[in-house]
């Protein structure tokens, strides 16, 4: 569809991870919250790199345990730790054990989006070094994943290390939908929820179809939210308008940024939302800042928190 999107997704590697999820549930490592789809067996060689293998005892069959690295954006690490833990919980319940490489800090997006390539480059190189040992990297931020997948070319001209890592970096929702093929989420959230479609996830990762493109509609975040018991999705009048965060834009264009945010909030309120959610905490940080200042009756929660079954 778009050349901004890489050719990753439901390839052979998918089944192996899903299989693992099934097995893990069977072993009782995690509450049996979901059932992965029927899976094809192992076969053929895939792009997945098997660095650590371990047998799964209860199955009696040797399995390959992919190493999943957790990529927690710097501002989530520092300001929203629970979004990180919600991510860990969602994944662990699905049988995925994650590692958090402590050397990680930031993907370099703030520098890159300001045009400061030289300041961003060492962070991009670090990112690849830190995460290349993993079979998959999962991150609760579409924007940071978009930075890695859609904008790192600038720093790695045909570098095989980056080319190998690139298709293995996933935003949380696309990992759940495309790789784990989650089709059940027995958590409850009896509230009216407005999904704010964070732009980079939407238009650079194609987590959903944007309202501008004339394609069959799809939306991975929505697909997951619809699995949550009691959750009622509301439809804002403008389905995917930007909230106005935009990184340094939020500060350098303060007036426009805040007006954009106010407009999104008003739209979600008129649609009847009690909770606004998104695949990016950065959008929500901006929106929540406006909501709290104006004392609006709206809560902001990251989608990982809803998927993990956090209460309001």
């Amino acid at each position: 569809m778009s050349n901004m999107v890489g050719d990753f997704g439901t390839t052979g590697n998918v089944s192996r991870l899903s299989l693992l999820a099934t097995f893990s549930i069977a072993t009782g490592n995690a509450p049996p919250l979901t059932r992965a789809r029927d899976l094809p067996g192992f076969g053929g060689s895939t792009s997945f790199v098997h660095r650590s293998t371990s047998p799964i005892p209860s199955s009696g069959r040797p399995s390959i345990v992919p190493r999943v690295g957790l990529f927690i954006p710097c501002y989530i690490d520092q300001m929203y730790p629970d979004v990180g833990f919600a991510t860990v919980e969602v994944l662990e319940r699905l049988g995925v054990t994650v590692e958090f490489p402590e050397a990680q800090t930031c993907c370099g997006q703030p520098m890159a989006n300001t045009g400061c390539t030289e300041a961003a480059a060492p962070l991009a190189r670090r990112f690849v070094e830190i995460f290349e040992p993993y079979d998959a990297v999962v991150c609760p931020s579409g924007s940071c994943v978009a930075m890695v997948r859609a904008h790192y070319h600038e720093y790695f001209h045909h570098d095989p290390r980056y080319d190998a890592l690139r298709p293995k970096v996933f935003e949380l929702c696309e990992y759940l939908v495309d790789v784990l093929k989650v089709d059940k989420l027995p958590v409850r959230f009896p509230h009216k929820v407005g999904l704010h479609q964070s732009c980079h996830g939407l238009r650079e990762l194609r987590l959903g179809s944007s309202s501008e493109t004339i394609v069959a509609p799809f939306n991975k975040a929505k697909q997951l939210l619809e699995l949550i018991d009691g959750l009622e999705l509301v439809d804002p009048a403008r389905p995917d308008e930007c909230c106005g965060f935009g990184g340094t834009f939020a500060v350098s264009e303060e007036a426009v940024s805040c007006l954009m945010g106010h407009d999104r909030i008003a739209d979600h309120l008129q649609a009847g939302a009690e909770v606004m959610t998104a695949t990016d905490m950065s959008c929500l940080m901006h929106l929540d800042g406006l909501i709290r200042r104006d004392k609006q009756p709206l809560r902001c929660m990251h989608i990982a928190e809803l998927l993990a079954g956090r209460p309001v």
Binding site: I76, A103, A120, L123, V215, E241
Partner: protein
């Protein structure tokens, strides 16, 4: 940063006006969506348009020569202008040679780009913009705030006052039907008195030597069908190889621009009227330089539909004039810095990088990516404020050292907790002007993760 943010803040200072402007343009965007959805093959049409443009610019010199050859065969006079000054001089000379004192002009962003009107006016020639919206901004002594809807920023009451003053309409009258009728009468007179008609060009066809001009009002056709001289001004990127390819572009243009299936008039000019003259001015004015830039070449695909403006959440809320540019909005923020990076240094940053413009663009220009690349160019040219560059360098230095990052993060959270509100929400903190900062947690994710996982 001065520039766009300051002018945008001025526009937003009248919140009702900004909301009205936003809604007017969103309405156009919604019409575009409806029109595009009526065409199941929309996305493949966009692909086709982009492919035709890529092929054309790869062979542009050949197509320009072919166009010139065929246009001359049909009896047109073809002129070449390297820059705006040469373009203006050529037009003035044609008019002076025929002792023309009154010119009617239909919409042409190129002549705006070249600032043709003041050049002709200085030589004592009356230039009347005949597109209703352009006539309105001309009377108001402003520039168009949008390339398709030149006076979208103006309320009908303001237009009523303007017409009362200049056209003698009733005081206080602001009914669009009434005002349009008044303009019709006023401009008919100008059409009948004009000694030459000027138009832009939407598409020029190499294979035939002809060109197409699209309007809804019929002003281009009236303007060039009465006087004996037609001058058509076009950028060299307006070329397409074959007439059949007009099908692709005409289907995209109006649907993207206003949500119409096609403009009312799509006029195909091949040669002059009997006994009359047709002059075609081919203008470079920086386009051949952009052609040589891999990162920005695709901006030459632009067919000036304005869809990126209608969809841009920043443009809609900051108004076209906040860009202080001939072409405002997303595509203008690429085209204008190419001409004068220092003057337009704030434009590539007048963007939240939402990418809506790239998705809406009928010729698939990667607009938001080019804006990002422009930000890098600005740093290279030393046009990003030093404070910002330092901040980014320091940020990078911290983020390359996990221990330092952890320490700074911890100190930041602590400071947010301990500092009194008036210090945190001071004037030095634009974030806090209308927004609260997040409530800092005691511990970072990594601290807690380590504790929980016993590592």
């Amino acid at each position: 940063m001065t520039g766009h943010p300051t002018r945008a803040a001025e526009f937003i200072a009248l919140p009702q006006r900004a909301a009205w402007h936003d809604q007017s343009l969103w309405f156009v965007r919604a019409k575009r969506d409806k029109a595009a959805k009526a065409i199941p093959e929309w996305e493949s049409l966009r692909d086709a348009a982009a492919a035709i443009k890529a092929h054309t610019v790869a062979n542009l010199a050949d197509y320009l020569e072919e166009f010139e050859r065929n246009a001359k065969k049909l009896g047109a006079v073809v002129h070449w202008a390297r820059d705006a000054a040469e373009h203006n001089a050529i037009v003035l000379k044609i008019l002076s040679d025929h002792n023309v004192k009154r010119v009617v002009k239909s919409k042409s962003m190129l002549t705006e780009e070249c600032h043709l009107n003041p050049h002709l006016e200085a030589a004592g020639i009356e230039v009347v913009d005949t597109d209703l919206g352009e006539r309105i901004v001309q009377l108001a002594n402003e520039r168009p705030s949008h390339i398709v809807l030149p006076c979208i920023h103006k309320k009908k009451e303001e237009i009523g006052e303007l017409f009362h003053e200049h056209l003698g309409t009733d005081a206080g009258a602001s009914d669009p039907q009434y005002l349009t009728e008044a303009a019709r009468g006023h401009l008919r007179d100008r059409f009948l008195k004009a000694g030459a008609g000027l138009t832009g060009v939407n598409f020029a066809i190499a294979e035939t030597g002809g060109f197409v001009v699209c309007t809804n009002e019929g002003n281009a056709d009236l303007g060039v069908s009465l006087p004996p001289i037609h001058i058509a001004c076009m950028g060299i990127e307006k070329l397409i190889p074959k007439a059949a390819e007009l099908g692709v572009f005409l289907r995209l243009l109006a649907r993207s621009a206003t949500g119409q299936a096609i403009t009312t008039y799509s006029s195909h000019f091949h040669g002059p009227r009997a006994g009359c003259e047709l002059h075609i001015v081919l203008v470079d004015n920086g386009r051949s330089t952009v052609l040589g830039q891999d990162d920005f070449r695709r901006s030459l695909n632009c067919i000036r539909c304005g869809a990126c403006m209608n969809t841009c959440p920043v443009y809609r809320r900051s108004g076209g004039h906040s860009y202080n540019a001939t072409v405002p909005g997303p595509i203008g923020s690429i085209l204008e810095p190419a001409r004068d990076p220092a003057k337009h240094a704030s434009l590539p940053h007048a963007c939240s990088l939402c990418g809506s413009c790239s998705d809406v663009c009928p010729v698939k220009i990667n607009i938001h990516e080019q804006l990002l690349i422009w930000r890098r160019e600005l740093v290279k040219k030393g046009l990003l404020p030093l404070t910002k560059r330092w901040a980014m360098s320091i940020g990078s230095a911290v983020l390359q050292r996990p221990w330092l990052y952890q320490m700074v993060g911890g100190m930041g959270r602590m400071a947010l907790k301990l500092l009194p509100r008036f210090l945190v929400y001071s004037r030095l903190n634009p974030w806090g002007k209308q927004r609260e900062l997040p409530t800092p947690p005691k511990q970072s994710f990594r601290d807690q993760f380590k504790a929980r996982h016993g590592k």
